[in-house]
Amino acid sequence: MLVIEDLQVELAGKLILKHIDMEIKPGETHILFGPNGSGKTSLLMTIMGYPQYKVVSGKIYFKGVDITNMPINERAKMGIGMSFQRPPTIRGLKIRQLVKICSGNGENMDVEALARAVNFVDFLDRDVNDGLSGGEIKRSELLQLMAQNPDLMMFDEPESGVDLENMELVGKIIAHLLEQEIHPKSTKPIRLQKRERRKMGLIITHTGHIMNYITASKGQVLYDGVLSCVENPREILKCIANIGYEECVRCILENNLRNGH
């Protein structure tokens, strides 16, 4: 479980996340909405542990451990993983090697087989992120997460730059990573399959396309550094599409107030 309590975060001296509370239970996937610059990526980076995102107050707990001041790699080792939107190029390091690193340098890891699943075999001997298109970067990030197999997966705009054909692939892989595939032929009832899900997801999306492939338990809107509401993600998306973020946030706030939140 991921628990965030009253988190305040500064970036370059500016308060960018204000009083964030969040809870993702095992098996849950949350969708994070919010206009550009609202702090969505900052929240993910803070959870991942990037030190430039300075926690000025509040706590982050993962699996019951206070990770607020834990270095990035220790969080990764605990099972937090992230698909970055703009990962850096690392010259001379091959994607193949990086995938091995992600798996904890597992000797018997079949990199090729994993890469086939994301249609990425041809890229394995390219330098990490060097000259990759937006869609290729997404697939590279997913491949790394597949090798890493973390318990909490954060996806920063998994749809951006992905063409229609690959969108289905990306969606299905994310569903697979989050253990959301339903196996109708399994001896286990579907309800049990769902209950046995442990993987947690936190997904930033603007378009909501990813929701065609995965089931999200909750949607949240981050607006100006404040988590403004928790709602059914489809409702939120509809609201944003119809009346825009500002109105949407106001409406929901009022709604919440009326309901005694």
Binding site: P51, I72, N73, I101
Partner: protein, 408 residues
């Protein structure tokens, strides 16, 4: 007057001539002589002390000669082992060649002027030995030939002269290592190398240097590549040295000749490396590439590169990347010189540090900060060298792995 006498005469006039660049070394402080070493058989070579074998291995020399087509091994002033296991390849000590073969005079001091500076002069006047490696027309080496210049005697000035000839349509791969014994603290190494790549021949020359902290090293090399020929020159030095200065020139002297230089340098504290490459493109279809990676770990690295385009329809690129890790200086001096219309020449140079962003990214994949840094450095030094046989690629990788320990 015999041609050798003429060389000597010219050399005598240059004994005090300072080099165009690099620290001037007072050569009088070094011993020029040492007892001739005892020749070693194949078995004796394998029975060298562990510590010495390891040193040689780090310079790419495998005493078992497995996956090697031949071996030349010089210790101090003389040859200890010289054999060839492959047909079509000749490996001859230079002094033997000078005595026995007339053809050697078509090559000896042909590309490097004997009176270029005091170092070339010393190599003529106090020549110890060196090798001639020659691939006969049409022959192809399966395994690389290995050559080693080993310095065991302290305070020695080792003077060697090497001639490498790839005859028409031949393919020759050479790995050469220079190393000093653990007992050797100071000394100087002067190495003349002249490369001849004939029509449609392919020569790869990979040099790995392991010097000592108080060694001055002055290689003086030049190459010429004829029509359709390829010269691939790799230089790796990741160990400390007092000073190393070289700026070899390659002349492309026929259409479609190609030269590619790859240099990997790690500059240790107190060391000065002034290393460059110059390629002259004289004919249409000539291609040249100079790629260097330099890491300063507290040392000073001057990375030079000079491309000279003298014909239309040539292409040349120079790439120099430097990483300052633990202090030190990296000075990149890329030069492009186009003499006619229709040349296509470019360069890119960058000197910087490891981006934090890259370290964090790898940490997010589970590596700790040191592992992430090491991985990025290894990647930085990992240059793709097309056309290099796998054994030599493995030797370069090994040298890079080895350097990790020093850099971190």
């Amino acid at each position: 007057m015999h041609i050798r006498e003429q060389f000597k005469e010219r050399a005598l006039k240059a004994v005090d001539k300072k080099a165009a660049i690099g620290e001037d070394i007072d050569l009088s402080q070094y011993d020029k002589e040492a007892p001739p070493p005892k020749p070693l058989t194949d078995e004796e070579l394998c029975a060298l002390p562990q510590i010495e074998r390891e040193l040689l291995a780090m310079a790419g020399i495998d005493v078992t000669e497995k996956e090697r087509g031949g071996t030349f091994f010089q210790k101090n002033v003389g040859v200890v082992h010289c054999d060839v296991k492959q047909e079509g390849i000749e490996v001859i000590p230079l002094k033997v060649a000078l005595e026995k073969y007339d053809w050697i005079w078509d090559y000896y001091w042909k590309l490097v002027p004997v009176d270029a500076d005091k170092y070339t002069a010393a190599a003529e006047l106090e020549l110890h030995d060196g090798y001639v490696i020659r691939a006969l027309p049409g022959s192809k080496t399966i395994y690389p030939i290995q050559a080693c210049m080993f310095m065991e005697k302290d305070n020695l000035q080792q003077n060697v002269h090497n001639i490498i000839i790839a005859e028409e349509d031949s393919e020759l791969h050479i790995i050469t290592g220079c190393a000093t014994a653990h007992t050797t603290k100071r000394g100087a190494h002067i190495g003349i190398s002249e490369f001849f790549v004939k029509k449609n021949a392919k020569l790869s020359f990979t040099m790995i240097h392991n010097w000592a902290e108080n060694m001055h090293v002055r290689p003086r090399s030049a190459a010429q590549v004829e029509e359709g020929g390829l010269f691939l020159n790799n230089y790796i030095c990741m160990k400390p040295v007092k000073s190393l200065q070289m700026y070899p020139t390659t002349h492309l002297v026929g259409p479609d000749a190609v030269a590619r230089f790859y240099t990997i340098l790690v500059g240790s504290p107190g060391s000065i490396y002034d290393v460059g490459g110059r390629i002259v493109l004289n004919y249409p279809g000539n291609r040249a590439e100079i790629v260097s990676r330099a890491i300063s770990n507290g040392g000073t690295i001057i990375a030079r590169g000079h491309l000279i385009g003298k014909s239309p329809d040539i292409k040349a690129h120079l790439e120099c990347r430097g990483l300052i890790l633990n202090g030190g200086i990296i000075h990149a001096i890329p030069e492009l010189e186009g003499h006619v219309d229709g040349v296509e020449m470019s360069h890119e140079a960058a000197v910087g540090k490891i981006a934090q962003e890259e370290i964090f990214y790898l940490m997010a994949r589970g590596l700790n900060e040191d592992e992430a840094t090491a991985t990025i450095v290894r990647g930085f030094l990992n240059v793709d060298i097309p056309g290099l046989p796998p054994q030599l690629k493995a030797e370069i990788d090994k040298a890079i792995e080895e350097s990790d320990k020093d850099v971190m």
